[in-house]
Symmetry: C2
Subunit: 424 residues, 2 copies
Amino acid sequence: MAGAGGLLTVQQALQLALQAAVLMDSEDVLLEQSAGLRLASDLLVPQDQPATARAMMDGFAVASEVCGDQVVEQAVFAVVETITAGLVPQRVLQAGEAARIMTGAMVPGGAMCVVPVERAVLQSVAAEGVAGDSGIERVRIGREYLKPSAHILPAGSLARRGEILLPVGTRICAQHIALLAEHGFARVPVRRRVEAAVLATGNELVHHSETPQQGCIRNSNAPMLQSQLTAAGAIPRMLRTAQDSLESLRVQIQRGLRSDVLLLTGGVSAGMLDLVPQVLREAGVQQILHGIRMKPGKPLYVGVLQQAGRQCLVFGLPGNPVSSLACFELFVRPVLERMSGGVVAVPVRAALVRGFTVRGDRTLCQPVQLRLSEGQLLAEPVSWTSSADLKSASDANGMAIFEPEHGEYGAGELVQVISWNGWF
Amino acid sequence: MAGAGGLLTVQQALQLALQAAVLMDSEDVLLEQSAGLRLASDLLVPQDQPATARAMMDGFAVASEVCGDQVVEQAVFAVVETITAGLVPQRVLQAGEAARIMTGAMVPGGAMCVVPVERAVLQSVAAEGVAGDSGIERVRIGREYLKPSAHILPAGSLARRGEILLPVGTRICAQHIALLAEHGFARVPVRRRVEAAVLATGNELVHHSETPQQGCIRNSNAPMLQSQLTAAGAIPRMLRTAQDSLESLRVQIQRGLRSDVLLLTGGVSAGMLDLVPQVLREAGVQQILHGIRMKPGKPLYVGVLQQAGRQCLVFGLPGNPVSSLACFELFVRPVLERMSGGVVAVPVRAALVRGFTVRGDRTLCQPVQLRLSEGQLLAEPVSWTSSADLKSASDANGMAIFEPEHGEYGAGELVQVISWNGWF
């Protein structure tokens, strides 16, 4: 592991981490709390939808035959009922009859079509002086608007009982919530959220609300990872910062191993106080990998604890903030996605706004600004000095993956990119 | 407003709605709770960062001059101190001296550079049998690794006091949280979240957990809008469904008008029970627009209540679910964005996967599947029958805006698209 040649590639490391991911249990949650979660099973249509034919416009439901009228371009109907949404029609329309009807209301039997209100002319009984009609309203409609089935949503036309309403793995968004509500799913079976413990390590760390003494720094990784986990749909569990001592690490790591995932930051590089791998080994965590051919992020550690029928997947992230950010997005987020029942997405590529030269012999995760322009996804590298340079990285919203073997990248060339904030 | 020609275009309606949007107050929130919110002011760097020079690698900080050594390609240093992160160096390095140092630790005075541990060879005192040195360790380093300033992060190199750290309007993501933590912002000034009341109207609606009687349907819009609001960073306030009566509407609308935004669904088309505009007028809401040249979504209503130094912006959304969804994404989301201090994004365009014909004389919001492929954003229309067809719309993740004047759209042509779930 001393030379770059001996280290795993980013792809190898990602495959190993994904192979260790286990699917979360399924649980039923209230529909209103299901946004962002993934369905744990196919959901079937429980009943035909709509249950009865419904009007799609405000207007008149008219019978299949029209009564005689002198003006051949128009037909006149007697308005025999008013049906608002929520009511059940009281009669079946007969020839020459119409019912005033509102959007969403049940269409009466005998209706040929619904004619929008703006296409119908109501004949006031008084004005027209129609004799012998004892106050029955009539409506005059141009024959061109009498199209069979027009503006009627037939029963069963939206969904048939027993069909798949939504397939397993669907990530529930607003449109799915509407659909599930329409079909009466008050609770839905989903993969439960991953609980992920966050443990920052290092004697030099103070809480970000404190003023660090000389030689110390504020802990920026913990609140960052908390935010990344929440954005990824996981539940962060924030542990107290561990000191660089075996005792402190043992206590906090034992706490963290009770979660589905444990994210450590710091303590995994080659320094004399980087005790994390040792404590993990003692705790029964099996190392999956330690060290990758990537910049930043070289010291990445991944391990797994199997015990009592459950497992905890452990990520040792580097202490520098941009390294930690990059390793989370490259490795942890896809693993969380798989644990939650998602399919790990195919890599996305973007066109480089300008040429780029990769130095060194490791895969480079370079902060970039991603934007859409005229149907193209563009990536513009931000100027960035080191894995400690959070300020420059904050101008970015993603990163590009540059391979040193590739040589010079040209403007317009497609390069793999990763969005940092769940943009895709 | 009877003919399509008299209605506002989508662009006109959006401009009117945006003009009515007011900026939310600013408030200070805990950094950990700031994700997704926008900065209400520029934030300046409080202190130079880093405060002191820091080591970027585990290794040895070495003095600016080397002690005499017979091997000219290598220099040998006496290791006089060990500096772990969090400690303050106890001495200034003299010529020929080195300090063992860990990543993130403070670099001692007199250090020329930091040499990574894998580039240094420790000389065991016993093995080398160096005389008269009373157990002082020495480290041998190739001269090619003695590059001035190498692996040192100089004081003030990341950020200078008084510079802009993050500009007003920044939407706070994980990378910004890390940056703000590093600089000690325990609380940050942000635009407060918009509180948005949701009021579904209609005698036909039952809660989605209930079985509707004949003629009735489940309320799908309310949980959908709740999810859309949450995704847009607003706080949904769910009101009880209003009946189609003046009394019921008056009570619930008065409640809703206490929020920053009131979203109504149903009750705004031309039906006899569409009483919403009347009740809003009585309550002092000034109509901004009612009716747009769009499909679905034609009956859209927008109004504003100004009272006692505050305002409530009212959206009357159509009752059909896909209309409601589309009107939210097209009109409500940009308004929420502006109220929250965001800049309304320029329209995004995507390449059509296949040709498309627009029928009718209104702007069509067509559900599409958006995906990225080889640097291109692609839009594929889903087959979709009506604004009640939630099932087909659930296969989509956005919509394309088709203009009837444009005529036939060809495959590959760029068309304006809107993502439904905050994807961009």
